[in-house]
Symmetry: C2
Subunit: 190 residues, 2 copies
């Protein structure tokens, strides 16, 4: 007798991540993920279009979260600070789950198709952030540049943080360090 | 009697661009491109794996060109200037062909699959540039940040330049303007 099980989506995502990490993304079937989560394949496809999207549709729309952060920012910030106001909420959410983030990155790194998907998601987030910065009052080009610079700084910090064993220093601190570095890019020599 | 025709690759690329622009990327077949260039389909596939790659394999490896520029740069430049030393050669090559660049961009903008491909090529170029900057002597994170910032500035300028009717001001000038903007991102308010 099947009993009612809450949060199929969350359990499917967790089961997929464990299987991808243990036996490889290519070697894992939707049937295995569904079985491991105790649901049918049909339930899997109600939540995700394919096994790739499990890694990119974690239930949180990061672009929308970033846009909300900009909308809620104090007026008159520098372009980069306004962009960071957008990313801070997202950094808080991601920063709490180091083990999940590290595992997810390990999986993505093993597969060229997943790496491409990740780059595209990143570019989409940058575009959404740039749109929010235009609404904040920046001209189009400044908005685009600020979004690209902030997302670049975030990405560099994320790469370092997900590669660390224990998630120390915290993601938020590492992003701050990347931003400091960004500010000095135009200065000095080697 | 077939006569010998030089530069099949170049003629195929040009024919493809005209057809994609006139009748749409989706509506154009490899057979039509080959016929328009006066060669066989087999010749097309000797030069390009599919009709998408015609738009991204223009015979110039932009990443390699950028890496060469960094390798040839004077020592001791600021990270951003070293990155720009990489992009300058590429800006010179692209900047000479406004009509081609504008048409190519129009085609890419019409098709989500092409837009994704374009983002990936961009990210790949940024990664290649970052590698060259590490060889130049920058630490990994500074190299990545400088590459992302420079490619971001280039991209903003390219968007503006390809959208202009006559390619004025020149691409190189527009990149300079983006860089100036980038330097002030962390300053002031609105």
């Amino acid at each position: 007798m099947a009993r009612w099980q809450p949060d199929s989506r969350g359990r499917l995502a967790k089961a997929a991540l464990v299987l991808y990490d243990d036996q490889g993304f290519e070697n894992t079937t939707v049937a295995e993920i569904a079985a491991s989560a105790g649901v049918t394949e049909r339930t899997f496809f109600r939540h995700f279009p394919d096994k790739r999207e499990v890694l990119f549709a974690g239930g949180i729309d990061l672009g929308a979260l970033a846009a909300e952060g900009v909308a809620a920012a104090a007026p008159g910030l520098s372009p980069l600070d306004a962009a960071m106001a957008g990313l801070n909420g997202l950094i808080a959410v991601i920063g709490e789950r180091h083990e999940f983030a590290a595992r997810r990155r390990r999986i993505i790194d093993t597969n060229p198709e997943l790496r491409e998907r990740d780059l595209i998601k990143n570019a989409e987030m940058s575009a959404t952030l740039a749109g929010a910065l235009r609404d904040y009052g920046l001209d189009e080009e400044t908005a685009t540049l600020a979004a690209e610079a902030a997302v670049g700084a975030f990405r560099v910090a994320w790469l370092r943080w997900t590669a660390s064993k224990d998630g120390r220093p915290p993601l938020a601190d590492q992003v701050q360090e990347s931003l400091e570095r960004l500010r000095t890019l135009t200065l000095g020599g080697l």
